[in-house]
């Protein structure tokens, strides 16, 4: 078995949560890697939708941006950005939305906008992009983010995309909200009642203590915590090909 690192484990774990046939809204970064990995391994019929307008994109290699020509050229249909957000995302046609985060709180609220005050930020982050409406409308929302006290914070500086709201009970949006948070340590799931993110699975070799130390709030841990199966040889091979932007035959 090859060696693998925690970032690879995170991407593999995320890919596994995409089911064959799912309609998946793919963003830049780890979500892009995870979705393309899923399509090249266990979920060949998942449908990749990019907010640039490409529906059922079948990229030959990992797209570098969400606006690569390979996406348009291989898509079943390309629509305008307003149509994408109104008729496809907002209308609730997305099964799975993958999101990233610069900060996330215990109720799955996400900040990608600023560190510090919005008017005079310490760090200006890229902003909301397509995430607020994906977070609101996708049937399942999966957050992919490395776990650290700087990222997993008591209170986010700015709510860019809503999870379950300030106390976990304020979600009004039609989709289910963040159903999974997949990190380099393991997997968190919202408590069915309180919606507090709870560590339910750990990646191989990661301890509960490490996960707690990587979290900026008093992390809840499930009574019986599962271990995530290690990446298979096939998953690693495809993941690395994707990352190297090699073409992959279906």
């Amino acid at each position: 078995m090859s060696e693998w690192d925690s970032a690879e484990m995170m991407n593999v774990a995320a890919a596994r949560e995409l089911y064959d046939g799912d309609v998946c809204l793919v963003g830049v970064g780890p979500p892009n890697l995870a979705a393309n990995l899923a399509r090249r391994t266990h979920a060949p019929n998942c449908r990749l939708v990019y907010e640039s307008g490409a529906i059922d994109a079948k990229p030959h290699r990992l797209p570098l941006s969400i606006g690569d020509d390979d996406l348009a050229a291989t898509a079943t249909a390309v629509v305008s950005v307003p149509e994408m957000f109104n008729f496809w995302v907002g209308a609730g046609r997305i099964d799975v939305g993958f999101l990233g985060a610069a900060q996330i709180d215990r109720f799955g609220n996400i900040n990608t906008t600023v560190i510090g005050d919005h008017a005079h930020p310490k760090v200006r982050l890229p902003g909301a992009g397509g995430a607020p409406e994906i977070a609101a409308a996708a049937r399942r929302v999966i957050v992919i983010v490395k776990q650290s006290p700087r990222t997993f914070v008591e209170t986010v500086d700015f709510v860019s995309s809503v999870g379950y709201g300030p106390t976990g009970q304020e979600r009004e949006a039609p989709g289910a909200g963040p159903t999974l948070v997949i990190t380099d340590h393991g997997v968190l799931e919202p408590d069915p009642v309180t919606h507090e993110l709870t560590m339910t699975r750990l990646h191989p070799g990661v301890t509960v203590e490490q996960a707690v130390a990587a979290t900026g709030w008093a992390l809840k841990v499930a009574d019986s915590i599962e271990e995530v199966p290690a990446p298979t040889e096939h998953e690693l091979t495809v993941l690395r090909k994707l990352r190297n932007r090699e073409p992959i035959d279906a």
Partner: protein, 272 residues
């Protein structure tokens, strides 16, 4: 506007100090050449509107062209930060930059409302986010039939929109295809519209997904081959991903940015 004009003349005539200017193109067909011409002509105090500021606005912001930015996602896609945008917001360099920000859905709908000459658009979005604190551009309306509350976003109507397209015909009609983003809406929302194109043809080819803009909604068409570089024009060029990577180092500090500007005849505008 049937006959193609020089880019210099189109910018000189249609883009004025203090204008609200939208340069659109979602990753694809970004009008870089036109942006550089705006900078070369020393425009100041612009309100720049764009869903994805990308390198093109990182450059204009660093060159001191903009007083205000209206946007929805300000990153270097797949690479990281836009350092000039950050330096302007975090440190007011070269001067203060006011920010109005949307989600993609919000800004796309703001353009659409602008194109329909409606004062606002209704969408499912923004609920529960802090973006709603910008009450002058994001509000709520109640459905008169169901009582449901929905987000409302104020229309965006640029003074001038600039886009890059693949083709113009001899009459000055314009055709673009591939990822066409929000360009149609941005053009129709504006008072004036400038289009740079790769090529002029006698007749448009058949292209699924093409957007065609009739000449009578355009103010100027300019032939500027490769006018989207380092972005791309599907069918004509590929994205210069290396430059997008290299930009990170160029833009990271003011010195290297100013050196790049000088190397590209953008120095004058950078004297801020």
């Amino acid at each position: 506007m049937p006959s193609p004009v020089l880019l210099h003349d189109a910018i000189a005539e249609h883009v004025h100090d203090g204008d609200t200017v939208a340069l659109e193109g979602f990753t694809h067909l970004i009008p870089f050449a036109a942006a550089h011409e705006i900078a070369r002509q020393g425009r100041r105090h612009l309100t720049l509107v764009r869903m994805t500021p990308d390198l093109v606005y990182d450059q204009l912001i660093g060159l001191g062209v903009a007083d205000k930015l209206v946007f929805s996602y300000g990153g270097n896609p797949g690479v990281g930060s836009l350092h000039r945008l950050r330096d302007a917001v975090e440190n007011a360099w070269p001067h203060q930059l006011d920010v109005q920000e949307h989600s993609h859905a919000g800004l796309a709908n703001a353009y659409s409302a602008g194109a329909a000459r409606l004062p606002f658009a209704v969408l499912r979005g923004y609920r529960g986010t802090d973006l709603e604190q910008q009450r002058d551009i994001i509000s709520r309306v109640t459905c008169p039939f169901t009582g449901e509350q929905l987000a409302a976003v104020r229309a965006v109507n640029p003074d001038v929109t600039v886009i890059h397209a693949q083709l113009a015909d001899r009459d000055g009609n314009v055709m673009l295809w591939g990822i066409t983003g929000v360009q149609r809406e941005a053009v129709l929302a504006a008072d004036r519209a400038i289009v740079t194109v790769e090529e002029v043809v006698d007749e448009f080819p058949e292209r699924t997904g093409a957007v065609i803009l009739p000449n009578w909604v355009l103010s100027a068409v300019c032939v500027v081959p490769n006018g989207a570089w380092p972005s791309y024009a599907a069918g004509f060029s590929v994205r210069d991903n290396d430059f997008y990577q290299r930009w990170d180092a160029i833009a990271r500090d003011r010195e290297s940015f100013l050196a790049w500007a000088a190397d590209n005849d953008l120095k004058e505008s950078a004297d801020v």
